[in-house]
Amino acid sequence: MTLWTPTDDGFADLTSHDTFAGGAPHNTFARLRRDDPLHWTEYKDGQDFWSVTRHADIAEMNKNTAVFSSARGIRMEDQSYEEYLARRTFQETDPPEHSQTRMLLMRAFSRPVMAQYENDIRQLCDEILDAALEKGTFDATREIARQLPMRMLGRVMGLPEADLPWLVEKGDALIANTDPDFTSHVLDKMDTDEFRMMPFNSPAGAELYAYAKELMAAKAASGDTEGVLHMVRQPAKDGSTITETEFRNFFCLLVAAGNDTTRYSIAAGLQALCHQPELLGQMQQGGDIWDTAPDEIIRWATPALYFRRTALADYEMHGKTIRAGDKVLYWFSSANRDDSVFDDPFRVDLFRSPNRHMSFGQGGPHVCLGMWLARLEVRVLFQELAKRLKSIEPAGPHKFLRSNFVGGIKELPVTVTLA
């Protein structure tokens, strides 16, 4: 059984969020990988860009930060220098500046530190799954996939449980700023100029800034040193610390990017269980599958569809010249279906190894800071789910987010029977 057949005509408009509302345009990506692996797209107001779609090309370019810079924006849309300065996180910097900030943040998200959360995650999964599965038929994105990252965000950041739904709503309004289900300020459908200095051009950014400020004041007053927010503010070995602006932008980044990406990974895994019934039995047999299954689920999901770089010098590839100043998009979504790297890329193979997927932006200095937490959450969630289920089936069509930046199943109706 084919898990999912891409339905676009091979000539989808990559600049249109609507293109992605039915899932990533995989026929178009397949055509580009085959016929035009360095593809020029004309985009409104001279914002034209190159699309890189082959795995090998992205791998080569992603580590070449001397030519391909993150410091002029990481989205398809242009931003002015003042917007960039106000809104940037270390995602929008290059080495060596990037390395210095990353050093301050990395320890808090390192594999050994994250591993300590396994019991917390398992306990949260118990609560979440017990509550969801008894419903029988439900929206698995809302009841399962959305719950775990939201509540882990609270644990990892040391936030009050009661604040979490509000925070996640604001995070969604930020990052899903092109989907009317998530924000009343749909980015490409109204004038959001008044919010352009805010993260993701969104009024939710202002609210999150204010929340972060109050939170840290309250934590300081009570001597609360729980969670990674405290850890990232500790000085590095050389005494340097992150600035106030860096901190509040980082906070927004955690609430937004650190949340929905894991949600959509879990959602994609649940969708795979629905459409490839053999997967549940494989999970139930356990063992080595748990070394490889999380990465395969995360490959399948590819929540970050692309990141953009800007060329700092001319660069020759496939007989074309990328000029200094040109924008270049690394389409991870395409690379993760590249059949020169992945056998049968449209099939979920939970034993796939090696699995050189690029969902975390592997191959460059910006590789996802939260990847160990994401893998851990995905592993524990599916371990606990597999124990409880006899079957899981679709209870209707699923719906994707309207966004060419974040790929995710926002609605996934399922029916379960318990073991």
Binding site: K63, S99, M106, S110, P112, A115, V367
Partner: protein, 105 residues
Amino acid sequence: MHVTWKLPGGAEIVAEVADGLNLMEAAVANNVPGVIGECGGCLSCATCHVFVTEDWLDRVGGPGEMEDVMLDMVAGERRPNSRLSCQITAAVALDGLVLEVPEES
């Protein structure tokens, strides 16, 4: 040059590595399990951790400043002979180098 990776179970992988390639890239190209190199050798991930065997320590040398910070974040145990293999470059002087791949955490 030739490099030998000794795996936790006792198996060994030996490969010819072109000068100038870093030993994370060499390990990935030869499918050495446990050496991943998630960040492509940009000192952002600590997933290419190896132990340099005693005979080779002097010739390979110790970690740089950034690598030293990153080595505190490796999954398993850090030892005095720990290095991130993306920071070791293949060269004639290292012909015959033997690296041990750590147990995962």
